[in-house]
């Protein structure tokens, strides 16, 4: 049988635990928003740091002399041939591309915007590769306004040029596919090269790692993945992340 001492402790426990419960609730009501805000700020700082790394990688990798000189040479060739319209278009596109690279400071942009800049890049590459390059962009109607981390598609496309098309002769085929499956967005960038470019470090692997980390930071509670696969007819990179509409994300952030 329970002695009086234990009984007293039991009663004390029974009387005091609701008090602890009530305090917990009170604490949640007072501090929950602040804790959320701190967590959000911490995540944003990490995301910004990763974005800076991505920017650095981008500038370091792709605005590298050989891309820049090749582009300038193509532009020079256009000038010598007196193809004024194409010349103006090329300089304009290069300027817009550089502007995007230097000015992007947001942690997320819309897929529509990301694709605009990918198109600038592809346009420049088209002046270099001419008929060798064929590209297709397949986009689901509903994903235009969804968010994506900046430079995701851009990095994958640039990797394709760097590790595949610039190294090999022959046709350069590139397919970009952005589709919505259930509540996730699947971005795949396929090229017809059979060389696995993750085996050519450090920049290819570094780029994918950076994308992985940034996706995890932007969507901390959802599943994200970035996978490189060697297929029979080429190499593809598939990035999966949740479908979140730009306006919803901005609204959610302003509410917090």
């Amino acid at each position: 049988m329970l002695p009086i001492e234990s009984f007293s402790i039991y009663i004390m426990f029974c009387v005091l635990v609701p008090l602890a419960g009530a305090f917990t609730l009170l604490f949640l009501f007072v501090f929950e928003k602040r804790i959320d805000l701190l967590e959000k700020q911490k995540r944003e700082i990490a995301l910004e740091r990763e974005l800076q790394t991505a920017l650095y990688n981008q500038l370091n990798q792709e605005i590298q002399p050989h891309f820049f000189f090749n582009t300038l040479n193509s532009i020079l060739a256009l000038a010598r041939l007196d193809r004024k319209t194409e010349l103006i278009r090329s300089i304009e596109t290069l300027s817009k591309l550089l502007k995007f690279k230097y000015r992007t400071i947001n942690n997320f942009i819309s897929i529509e915007d990301e694709l605009t800049y990918v198109n600038y890049y592809l346009e420049i590459q088209k002046t270099r590769f001419r008929d060798r390059l064929h590209y297709e962009i397949h986009l689901d109607n509903c994903v235009n306004k969804a968010i994506i981390i900046p430079f995701l598609i851009q990095t994958l496309v640039e990797n394709a040029f760097k590790h595949a098309f610039e190294r090999h002769i022959g046709e350069a085929l590139l397919k970009i596919k952005i589709i919505k499956i259930e509540s996730a967005i699947h971005v795949s960038v396929w090229n017809n090269s059979l060389e696995n470019y993750e085996t050519s470090p450090p920049d290819g692997g570094l780029g994918l790692e950076n994308i992985k980390r940034r996706l995890e930071l932007l969507f901390p509670d959802d599943e994200t993945s970035v996978q490189l696969t060697d297929q029979e007819d080429g190499t593809a990179v598939l990035a999966i992340f949740p479908h979140v509409i730009m306006s919803e994300k901005l609204e959610g952030e302003s509410m917090q």
């Binding site: 009086i4 009984f7 009663i11 029974c14 419960g21 917990t24 609730l25 949640l28 929950e32």
Partner: protein, 437 residues
């Protein structure tokens, strides 16, 4: 989203954080059952039983919290348990499961209403009918017609009242009486309560966890809350709700000691309400009555809201397409009809409590594995899975004359589990053979 939109009635306009999520779950789960069953467990199984009862609720909510995250990940576009069942079951299985849910829902809301009836009978010298009219009218306006928005507006007040009562009243009494006289009184009149080394109590705790988890996993109102709490906060919300909920039966068990320490009792279920006779402060009587009413009314409102949502969205809405106006009209109609039915039954039946804790325990236990299969499985499931729960329940009830109550609940659980496991293995083998061929 407009306030006149039916989606607003079911899920409200915004997602809840941990604080509001916990309050919403507490106002759903601190019910008439909590008030009526706590005395039963403490009398039947002693202090260990009291702790076990708290543990049951806490574990049930914590375990469901783990599932809740998965539910939200897999069925992110849904709003009710019915929506998920429609997605995962064949039409036959769906209608079968909806029928079981309706039976359980009506039983659950009826038990709550009976609790309110007993309370009214004990407090006011009026016929139960007149008190119940006001009480059910209140529930109709909050849960039936008001929707989740109105329920959440009152949830805060409910939780404040609940905690005020369970903190202030025991402190007041133990300061007034002291622990020693209570201990001596219990030792004299009810010494069995003080025996803690009691294997039966452990057996009871394990079974209670099974029933509690079964109750939560098919609770329509809790499922609705899974879809309105922020996804990243679901697990934490359910864990905290479980832990905070567990404090309430503990406080109630300390109140029971106050009531029974100087005498014996007639009915276990009305024990806690007899506290009113013991309290000599008007303020505390008002607080206690408000506590009981707010606990029962918030549970009935949440149940009513969940049943009506289920009926409109997953039964009537499936039979014929409804426009927004019709949905609202049916909402008023069905919630009014349910309240009238409750009023009718509670007024006719004598205000005596029914066996609460283990009544329907068989159904709850046999529902666990089929529901887990529905939530975690990957293919559309046939009617056999919901049927497994009915077979499990029937098996449990059939064993009732030859076995003790607790054991039949385990039989129900095992039967439905075996059936689900059998189907799982059969399905696995069939898939493998098909692949080989």
């Amino acid at each position: 989203m407009k306030k006149t939109d039916f989606q607003y009635y079911i899920g409200g306009a915004f997602q809840l954080g941990i604080g509001f999520g916990v309050v919403s779950l507490l106002s759903r789960w601190v019910t008439g059952n909590t008030i009526l069953s706590s005395p039963e467990t403490i009398i039947k199984y002693g202090l260990t039983g009291g702790i076990g009862y708290s543990l049951m609720g806490a574990l049930a909510l914590i375990l469901f919290g783990i599932l809740a995250k998965k539910i939200r990940d897999r069925f992110h576009d849904q709003q009710t348990i019915g929506d998920v069942l429609r997605q995962r079951l064949t039409p036959l299985g769906y209608w079968f499961m909806i029928s079981i849910l309706l039976v359980i829902s009506f039983h659950s809301i009826f038990v709550q209403a009976m609790g309110a009836g007993i309370l009214l009978h004990m407090i006011f010298p009026l016929p139960v009918f007149s008190g119940m009219v006001f009480f059910l009218l209140f529930c109709f306006f909050i849960g039936g017609a008001g929707g989740i928005h109105r329920i959440h507006q009152l949830a805060g007040i409910n939780v404040v009242l609940i905690f005020s009562a369970v903190i202030i009243i025991p402190v007041y009494f133990y300061i007034q009486e002291g622990v020693y006289p209570v201990y001596e009184g219990i030792k004299l009149y009810h010494p069995y309560i003080l025996y803690v080394k009691n294997m039966e109590a452990i057996w009871f705790i394990l079974t209670a966890i099974l029933i509690g988890f079964g109750q939560v996993i098919i609770d329509r109102a809790t499922w609705q809350r899974v879809f309105i709490i922020k996804k990243e906060k679901l697990r934490m919300t359910f864990t905290l709700a479980g832990l905070i909920w567990a404090t309430i039966p503990l406080a109630l068990s300390s109140l029971i000691m106050i009531i029974i320490f100087g005498r014996s009792y007639d009915s276990i279920y009305s024990l806690l309400f007899e506290l009113i006779g013991k309290i000599n402060s008007t303020l505390l009587i008002v607080l206690f009555v408000l506590f009981c009413f707010s606990a029962i009314s918030s549970a009935i409102s949440a149940e009513l809201h969940a049943i009506v949502s289920l009926i409109i969205k997953n039964i009537v809405g499936m039979l014929r397409p409804l426009n927004n106006k019709e949905k609202w009209r049916f909402t008023y109609l069905f919630s009014g009809a349910i309240c009238l039915l409750l009023l009718f039954i509670v007024s006719i039946l004598p205000p005596s409590p029914i066996e609460l804790l283990f009544f329907f325990g068989n159904i709850y236990a046999s529902m666990i594995v089929p529901m887990l299969y529905i939530i975690l499985g990957s293919k559309t499931l046939p009617a056999l899975i919901p049927l497994a729960s009915v077979i499990g329940t029937a098996g449990g009830f059939a064993a009732l004359p030859i076995m003790e109550n607790l054991l039949t609940i385990w039989i129900s659980f095992s039967l439905s589990s075996f059936l689900c496991l059998g189907y799982f293995i059969y399905n696995l083998l069939r898939t493998k053979l098909t692949v080989k061929v």
